[in-house]
């Protein structure tokens, strides 16, 4: 039982980070129907920036994190401005290809700057685990869980109540109508990319603290895609629940099935479940239904 709980907690932590990164996918998809394949690289940028500040320049962690978030923010805006702006009114598939290209280019540049070695963060959180009942949880995990959940709550409130949030959802619904009420679609896209880069950046920093930073961290982008699709690509609550679900699933299958089958199940399990769920619910668990008036 202890082993099970331990796995669930680990799963929830990783899942919360997944949920946050998936939020980036969902946002971009919602506002522009584009799947951003460079999400994994945005994760790396956040993680590397923070690592450099902390490990090389000995900046306090929280400050380093704030700076990295700003860097991600501007990177998101810059990507929208320089790469995607020129694709307005072009077919969606071209934009998706552009994000694929962006992903390769960014990965290359990142490797030139930081090489492919794994960088480990200096110990920021005390290593003594926190004991909750029968299970021990390391502090890094707890903080990660807390930060991701906080971000998820903040963004959910932002979308529900702020003017910008409403405008973003309005644009996702009907771009032309949004334009007709003075909502600048360009500004909305820039904001979307900025937020997507920020959530990915934070996700990268948290995962980097847990596992160290190396280019393979960007594969999280690939793992998170099923999360987003599972929850429904256009649903924010879907991304959150999908993230937690996939996290726990990965952790449990890693703990119970890997020893039996000789490893690797952990990586495959999310995709198997994804296929099964999509067979039953093609729009994902919480995908937006198409409202049809009769």
């Amino acid at each position: 039982m202890t082993f099970f709980l331990q796995l669930v907690v680990t799963g929830l932590v990783v899942g919360a980070v997944y949920a946050m990164v998936a939020l980036g996918f969902v946002l971009i998809y919602k506002s522009s129907d584009v799947i951003n394949f460079a999400q994994g690289e945005l994760l790396l940028v956040g993680a590397y920036t923070c690592w450099t500040l902390v490990a090389v320049y000995h900046v306090p962690f929280l400050l380093a994190m704030a700076v990295s978030i700003c860097v991600s923010l501007f990177l998101g805006i810059a990507i929208e401005r320089m790469v995607l702006r020129s694709f307005i009114n072009e077919p969606v598939i071209s934009v998706i290809m552009a994000t694929l290209g962006l992903s390769s280019a960014m990965r290359g540049i990142l490797q030139v700057i930081w090489s492919t070695d794994t960088k480990t963060f200096p110990e920021i959180f005390p290593s003594a685990p926190v004991i909750i009942g029968p299970i021990a949880v390391s502090r890094v995990y707890l903080y990660s869980l807390f930060i991701s959940l906080a971000m998820l709550v903040i963004f959910s409130l932002f979308f529900k109540y702020s003017n910008m949030g409403i405008a973003m959802r309005a644009t996702a619904d009907d771009q032309q109508a949004a334009l007709s009420m003075g909502i600048s679609v360009k500004v909305i896209f820039a904001a979307t990319w900025a937020i997507a880069a920020v959530v990915a950046g934070i996700g990268g920093i948290l995962l980097g603290n847990i596992n160290g930073v190396n280019p393979s961290l960007s594969h999280i982008g690939l793992t998170v895609l099923p999360v987003a699709i599972l929850g429904g690509l256009d649903s924010i609550p879907g991304a959150i629940l999908g993230g937690l679900f996939i996290g726990v699933l990965e952790s449990l299958s890693g703990g119970y099935l890997d020893p039996l089958l000789g490893g690797g199940v952990k990586e495959v399990a999310p995709f198997v479940v994804l296929v099964l769920i999509l067979m039953i619910r093609p729009y994902g668990l919480f995908g937006q239904e198409i409202i049809e008036r009769v």
Binding site: N89, N163, I166, A167, R169, A170, A172, D173, D174, Q175, Q176, A177, A178, L179, S180, M181, G182, I183, S184, Q288, I291, R293
Partner: protein, 263 residues
């Protein structure tokens, strides 16, 4: 207040839709722009509000002057900030947002956030039905309710001028009556200048002060509402009345088909 001088609009750089159109909308008035399908009414409105660019359309000639300032070529969001708000054809509510969120989206360009709350009440006064429905998802409203929402959304931007594109589209006659009465009230109480595009000439002329008739991308006739209503061509082709001013009967199969005098 608004003046279009000889504008030409081309789609995809080949299809000339407006061929030198001029019209004037004086402050505080309701001006009706009438015409059949494909005459270019919606295109005219989109040329004013800057929404053409999203559809590969372009104003290639002429000028559009609003309050003494040339607005041709401005971005759509800037034109809204200048005070022109287009209520698009077919309602176009944000389906997955609630009624109140739709209204708030309409107020996006407003800077005076505190007043916006009061304006919500104003919209609910004009459309009491929307108040009951304010937490409902807009996509599930009836057509009439959605049209009310679309106009209410326009009110939220507090525009000096509203461009209404076929508010009667797909609505039952009683609802059309109700909505047009409200449009008239808005014009009277808020002083909003209105440019109204309609196919339903009867109802449009019942509230307008001045009217233009469009055919094939040109204005073919203009005048005060009384003058238009008296014009025999308008009676025949737009109001469905015969020469004697009676409703036309299709029982007399062999009727004399009138030629339009303006062609």
């Amino acid at each position: 207040m608004l003046q279009l001088n000889n504008i030409e609009v081309m789609y995809d750089r080949v299809i000339l839709v407006l061929k030198g159109l001029s019209l004037k909308v004086p402050q505080g008035r309701i001006v009706a722009l009438l015409g059949s399908n494909g005459a270019g009414k919606t295109t005219t409105l989109k040329a004013i509000s800057g929404l053409l660019t999203a559809e590969d359309g372009e104003v290639t000639d002429g000028s559009i002057v609003f309050k003494g300032e040339e607005i041709h070529g401005m971005e759509a969001d800037k034109i809204v900030r200048k005070g022109i708000f287009q209520v698009m054809e077919g309602r176009r509510v944000f389906e997955h947002l609630t009624v109140e969120e739709n209204l708030l989206a309409g107020a996006f360009t407003r800077r005076d956030r505190a007043v916006v709350k009061g304006d919500l009440q104003l919209v609910y006064e004009y459309f009491p039905k929307l108040k009951q429905l304010r937490h409902r998802t807009a996509g599930y409203l009836s057509g009439g309710e959605q049209q009310m929402l679309a106009i209410g959304r326009g009110l939220m931007a507090r525009p000096e001028m509203m461009l209404l594109d076929e508010p009667s589209l797909g609505l039952a006659p009683l609802l059309v009556q109700e909505i047009f009465e409200i449009i008239e009230q808005i014009n009277r109480n808020e002083g909003t200048t209105i440019l109204l595009v309609e196919q339903n000439a009867n109802i449009a002329l019942s509230i307008a002060h001045y009217g233009y008739i469009m055919e094939n991308g040109r204005i073919v006739l203009e005048g005060t509402v009384d003058k238009l209503k008296r014009n025999e061509d308008v009676q025949e082709f737009y109001l469905g009345l015969s020469e004697l001013g009676q409703r036309k009967s299709y029982r007399e199969v062999k009727h004399y088909k009138r030629r339009k005098r303006w062609l």
